[in-house]
Structures are given as structure tokens and as C-alpha cells.
């Protein structure tokens, strides 16, 4: 994508006003395509109102430019998660709850994030959790 090389600054925010040219839905529509006429015609579905991974990367640039490193990291993880279906995201969250997963299950989750969804920063967060849970006795018993 062309957006990858864009270095955004505070002046670009809000993107919906100042840089709509950079925005598209995961289904390839622009903001201008999301009109009431299109809604009434049934041409817009809930899928068309989702954020794209590229947009999250752009917002990450804006957060980093504002000195908000952790917020930018959050947007990086979010960008990776856009590929994961809603129900699976919820399942993954539930398996990160205390005493919900064994070390092997968390490693399996990390691998799935990495291999199925190329979600490497999410996988790193899960592996980090697994280490801490082991040290703090928050892992489920091995099945």
C-alpha cells in the first residue's frame, strides 16, 4: 500500500477531515462511498464500517508523533487483530484470563496468532503473559 511510507503529523488529524484520501474500508470503499443512498440501496453492510489495518497503522503514526508510544503499540496490535473474526477475538481474550489456560494452551494461542494471522506483536504479548502467569501461579493445570 502507498500509505506505508506516509509520515503523518498532528496537522493531518483528524484523518476523516484532513486526509480522507488515505482512508478506505477493508472492503475497499472510501469514506465518500458510505452515503445514505448506498445504505438505503443495501450496498453498505456492517463489514463496510470496519477499520482497516492500514488505517490503524496511520493512527499509530499520529499517536507516536504525539509522544504516545504505548498507544501506538496498542494500534499495532489492533492492526494485526483486524484479521481475526469477532468470536475468535473474544475466545482469545477469555483464554488470557487468570487460570484459564495452561502453558501449552497459551503457546498454542501465540502460534495461532503468529502463523494464521501474522499477528506477531499480539503473539509476543501472549508469550509474555505465559511467562508471568507461570511465575505467579496463574496457569491452568495441563489437560
Amino acid at each position: 500500500m502507498t500509505t506505508a511510507n506516509t509520515d503523518l503529523t498532528a496537522a493531518d488529524y483528524p484523518l476523516s477531515v484532513n486526509r480522507p484520501d488515505l482512508l478506505h474500508t477493508p472492503t475497499g470503499k472510501t469514506l465518500d462511498d458510505l452515503t445514505m443512498d448506498a445504505v438505503v440501496a443495501g450496498d453498505i453492510t456492517a463489514e463496510d464500517l470496519r477499520i482497516s489495518p492500514d488505517t490503524l497503522k496511520l493512527q499509530g503514526q499520529l499517536a507516536a508523533a504525539a509522544g504516545r508510544r504505548q498507544l501506538a503499540d496498542n494500534f499495532t496490535r489492533a492492526s494485526e487483530m483486524t484479521a481475526i473474526p469477532d468470536a475468535e477475538v473474544l475466545d482469545m481474550y477469555n483464554s488470557l484470563r487468570p487460570n484459564a489456560s495452561s502453558a501449552a494452551q497459551l503457546e498454542e494461542l501465540a502460534s495461532r496468532l503468529e502463523n494464521t494471522y501474522s499477528a506477531t506483536t499480539c503473539a509476543a504479548l501472549v508469550r509474555e503473559a505465559a511467562q508471568v502467569y507461570a511465575a505467579r501461579n496463574l496457569l491452568a493445570e495441563e489437560a
Binding site: L49, A66, N74, Y93, V132
Partner: protein, 570 residues
């Protein structure tokens, strides 16, 4: 030991004055002595750790007197995610009193104190704010809050979970100025209908209000993903590992959840507050504010844009101990200083005393916060399903007068009766049309009429609850989304409401509302701590209540005309 007799001893004659004082509402409030060993202490405890930090090989290996092998998971998360390793040793070497003065001194910029704050540990931050009195804390909030323009948030709920009431009160709240509207339920299964009422009412009152429905994490996320709500807030975090685990979460699960929301383009903030750990029985002998600072740093480390804090539902706990309300203001300061959006409490019934309710409010209202109340009750407190707020509908005129007296913007305004009746009526009619189109249990003309003129849920005809719950289930089963609601509203002749709703949904594609402290203004322009960054630098700078907005806030229900004292200004 006390030198006076207990007040229950009726054999002792008391003065007339004492009788009057005994009858004052403030004496119905609960006050307790401090018990630092159990964490029942606001912010000054000998049992809190001393500040320290040590870095080895680019990693924090000691934090506030604990070495890495002694870390609990909060220490680990904060050391690895929140604190800036490159700057922490220099930042920690700065005298606490110097840092406290930098926060107050307008000649030190917000950017500089925020940058310094990135390198501080929880105990050091506590050490700094302990040096500040409540006026200095307010000075700090004025400078460090992230968004330049203050705003306010409302609760719109119903004791009967009546979606028409929620819609009408949301519409009134929106037209009065609330930027965000929050609801929750008595009967959780009612959630889809009530959340729809909140969204529709909000878009009638003032296009661009953001709505949320407070539920357990998974359901809240589901409603958000469907586009029925616009943001989320009830993502609770705690300052001790044991209480965090009791809440069935960890900093890693919550950080994952934060990213999950962002991945759907949904704004989200965490919630925490002083007193929650001691109330849940495991403060591990730390002061309330020390534990809350750990929460604030955990939230920052997770990369969530903001935090609802200021004791929130636990306000009775800090409210009962000496200096507790000062500590509550201090936690708002720390959230702001750590560069997070702060929705600053004032959202829970707190005192029987009107004077005390007001004094508890001023440390947030006077300096201004991102959301002065994280839940001003836009329904009478008896309809407030968050167990009542510090402010409610009866207080609207008092609030507006305080804004005008102090020339302070608390986010609300006086609105003429005809405008309020019009938006309430329209919200109810929009719901009537929407329910008809979706084959949900009918809303009668009598209900619309009631919604237009009502105060509380008592003023509405009762609904068939079982039929409504069946309807609520069908909304979920049919997979109805925000876009379906937009289509139905348009088809039913509420094109402007549909257009407003669609514009809110479109925001998710841009992700603009994910940035720190973002709200939508009346023109649907996102305003966040980027394009509306707080630039306070002393007198004459920062947000000033002037111009058109000040003229708006000069209006009250009754203001005598200068030209003709027999008339009131309309």
C-alpha cells in the same frame, strides 16, 4: 480517645444547636478513622513503599524497593510497559518537590511535565502529589488534562429499563450538551433495546454524541462490534494482583481487550479508582492512592487512550477517611499527567449533604477535565441504574448557575423548554417508528406523549416486559447492526437522525475517535488531544470561557432583562 459522650446517650441534655446540627444531612454520611495496615488510608501511609528504580541491560530490575524476583504482576507490567527505561533513572533523581513545583508552575510546559512523568515509578508519583494541596492539584489538572476543551458525560438509564424513557432522556441530555451518554440495565436481557434507545435519543438531541452500554466485557464488546454503541468504558482494572485476579483478569488480558476494541475502531477507556481494593478486601496494606497510581500506570502501559477514575463506585470509601476527596482529585491529576484521557468521576451518590456534594465536585469542575462527570445522572437518581450519581436532573439549573457564577465551562447549558419538549418527543417518535419497522413490541402514542413530558419512569405507561425481552432477544438473533438501524430510521422518515447515526458509524472507518480524549463536535469533527491539545500556560492561555459559548452560558431559566426589569430574557 474521644472526650465527648456518644451521641446515642439520651440521658445527657444537648443544646438546641446540637439538635440542629445532629439533624443536618451531613451527619447521615459515614466517617471512619484511618487503618493504614489494612489500606484504609487515602494517601499518607507509612506502609507505602519508598521510590526506587534500577535499570540493568535496558530493563528495569528494581521498582519501588522490590527486585524483579519479588515483582507481582502489576510491578512486572508497569516496569516492562509503562515506565520509560531510557529516562527513568534521571527522572527519579529529580527531587519530588521540584517535580511538584513544575506541575504547578505555568512556565513549565505540559509537554515537559508529561515527558518527565514517563520515567517515574508509582511510589515516586505518590511522593510528588503528596506534596500538593488541593488547589495545587487543581492547578495541575488545569495544565495536564489532555483535551483543551472540557466536556461532560451523562447516565441515561431507567428503573424499568424502559427504552423510550432512555431515548427521551438521552435526547434531552444531548441537547443540554453531554458529549457522551452511558446506560446500563436492571435486567441485562433488555440491553439491546435500551442501547438502541440511547443511540437514537442521543442522535436526536445533538448529532455526534457518543454512546455506551455498561455490561460485562464480552457483551459490551459485542454491542460495540454491531455498531449499536460507539464506545466502551466499563473495563475495570485494580491496583493489587489479588483483586485483579478476583476480577478474573490480568494486565495482559486487559491489554489484549484494549487492542480488540481498537481493532474494531471502537473508542475505549479503562476504569479504576481509589478504594476499590480495600472494598474488595485486599489492599495489601497500601494506601488507596498508591494502588490507584499503579492502575493508572497499568492503563498507560496497555496503551489504552484513557481512564475513568476518581474512585467511581467506591467513592464512599475515600469519602469516609481524612483527606479522601483530596486523594480523589489527586488520582484525576495523575491520570491527566500520565497523558491519559480522564473521565473524572462525580458519578456516584456520595453524600446526603448538598454542600458536600458540591465541594466534592469543584476540584474537577473548576480546572476542567476531559469529562467532568463520568456519569452525571440525566435521569432522576431513582432511575439511575448505576446506583445514583453525585449530580442528577434536579441539579441541572444549579449546575448552569455555577457555570455562570464562576465563568467555568462544565459542558452543559440551559436549554429552553420548547426545545427540550421537541427533542424528547422526536426521540420517542423515532423509537416508535423504529420498533414498528423492526416488528418489536409497539410503542403507543400514549407512551410518546408520556416521554415528552415525563420526569421519571413513574410517568410512563408500563410496558409488556416479557414481550420486550423477546424483542430484545430477536434483535440479537437477527444480527441487527447499527447500519440496519440507520436504514430503518431513514425509511421511517427520520432522515436527519439516520444521517447523524451514519456519521457516527463512519467514524469507525477513520479511527479518529481512537486518539486520546476524542469526542465529536456538533459538526462531526473529531476533537482529541491532537487537534484540540491542552495549551494551558498560565493566565490568558488555554481554554477560556469566552465569545459565543460564554454568551450561551449566561442564559438561565430566569434572568431579568436589563432594559425592562419587568421582563425576563428568553
Amino acid at each position: 480517645m474521644t472526650a465527648v459522650e456518644p451521641r446515642s446517650d439520651s440521658t445527657v441534655r444537648t443544646s438546641k444547636r446540637t439538635e440542629i446540627l445532629e439533624a443536618r444531612p451531613v451527619n447521615l454520611d459515614g466517617f471512619v478513622e484511618e487503618w493504614p495496615e489494612k489500606g484504609l488510608v487515602a494517601m499518607e501511609s507509612d506502609f507505602d513503599p519508598q521510590p526506587s528504580v534500577r535499570v540493568e541491560d535496558g530493563r528495569i530490575v528494581e521498582l519501588d524497593g522490590r527486585t524483579r524476583d519479588q515483582f507481582d504482576f502489576m510491578d512486572t507490567f508497569i516496569a516492562d510497559h509503562a515506565i520509560d527505561v531510557d529516562t527513568c533513572e534521571a527522572a527519579m533523581a529529580t527531587e519530588s518537590v521540584e517535580i511538584a513545583r513544575m506541575i504547578v508552575d505555568p512556565r513549565t510546559s505540559r509537554a515537559d511535565v508529561v515527558a518527565l512523568g514517563r520515567g517515574l515509578t508509582p511510589a515516586k508519583i505518590l511522593d510528588v502529589v503528596k506534596l500538593m494541596n488541593v488547589v495545587e492539584i487543581m492547578m495541575g489538572i488545569q495544565k495536564t488534562r489532555s483535551r483543551r476543551t472540557p466536556a461532560n458525560q451523562a447516565h441515561s438509564t431507567s428503573a424499568k429499563d424502559n427504552p423510550i424513557q432512555v431515548a427521551a432522556d438521552a435526547a434531552e441530555g444531548a441537547v443540554r450538551g453531554f458529549a457522551e451518554l452511558e446506560t446500563t440495565l436492571g435486567v441485562v436481557r433488555y440491553a439491546p433495546l435500551v442501547a438502541i434507545g440511547l443511540q437514537v435519543g442521543g442522535q436526536v438531541g445533538r448529532g455526534g454524541t457518543l454512546t455506551q452500554c455498561a455490561l460485562e466485557e464480552a457483551t459490551e464488546l459485542d454491542l460495540g462490534m454491531r455498531g449499536i454503541t460507539a464506545y466502551a468504558e466499563t473495563i475495570s482494572i485494580y491496583g493489587t494482583e489479588s483483586v485483579f485476579v478476583d476480577g478474573d483478569d490480568t494486565p495482559w488480558s486487559k491489554a489484549f481487550l484494549a487492542s480488540a476494541y481498537a481493532s474494531r475502531g471502537i473508542k475505549m477507556r479503562f476504569t479504576s479508582g481509589t478504594g476499590s481494593e480495600v472494598q474488595m478486601g485486599n489492599a495489601e496494606g497500601r494506601s488507596m492512592l498508591y494502588l490507584e497510581i499503579r492502575c493508572i500506570l497499568m492503563a498507560k502501559g496497555a496503551g489504552v487512550q484513557g481512564l475513568q477514575n476518581g474512585s467511581i463506585s467506591c467513592i464512599g470509601v475515600p469519602g469516609a477517611v481524612p483527606g479522601g476527596i483530596r486523594a480523589v482529585a489527586a488520582e484525576n491529576l495523575v491520570a491527566s499527567w500520565m497523558d491519559l484521557e480522564c473521565a473524572s468521576g462525580n458519578d456516584q451518590s456520595f453524600s446526603h449533604s448538598p454542600m458536600r456534594r458540591t465541594s466534592r465536585l469543584l476540584p474537577q469542575m473548576l480546572p476542567g477535565t476531559d469529562f467532568v462527570c463520568s456519569g452525571y445522572s440525566a435521569v432522576p437518581n431513582k432511575d439511575n441504574m448505576f446506583a445514583g450519581s453525585n449530580l442528577e436532573t434536579d441539579d441541572y439549573d444549579d449546575w448552569n448557575v455555577i457555570q455562570r457564577d464562576m465563568q467555568v465551562d462544565g459542558g452543559l447549558r440551559h436549554v429552553r423548554e420548547d426545545v427540550i419538549l421537541q427533542v424528547r418527543n422526536k426521540a420517542a417518535r423515532a423509537m416508535q417508528a423504529l420498533f414498528a419497522e423492526l416488528d418489536l413490541p409497539a410503542i403507543t402514542d400514549e407512551e410518546v406523549e408520556a416521554a415528552t413530558y415525563a420526569n421519571s419512569s413513574d410517568d410512563y405507561p408500563d410496558r409488556d416486559v416479557l414481550a420486550d425481552l423477546e424483542g430484545a432477544r430477536s434483535v440479537m438473533d437477527r444480527g441487527i447492526t447499527g447500519i440496519d438501524l440507520v436504514r430503518v430510521l431513514e425509511r421511517a422518515g427520520f432522515g436527519d437522525v439516520a444521517e447523524n447515526y451514519l456519521k457516527v458509524l463512519r467514524q469507525r472507518v477513520s479511527g479518529d475517535l481512537l486518539q486520546t480524549a476524542a469526542v465529536l463536535d456538533a459538526g462531526f469533527v473529531p476533537r482529541a488531544a491532537i487537534n484540540d491539545a491542552n495549551d494551558y500556560a498560565g493566565p490568558g492561555t488555554g481554554y477560556r470561557l469566552t465569545g459565543e459559548r460564554w454568551e450561551e452560558l449566561k442564559k438561565l431559566r430566569h434572568v431579568t432583562s436589563a432594559e425592562n426589569p419587568e421582563e425576563e430574557v428568553v
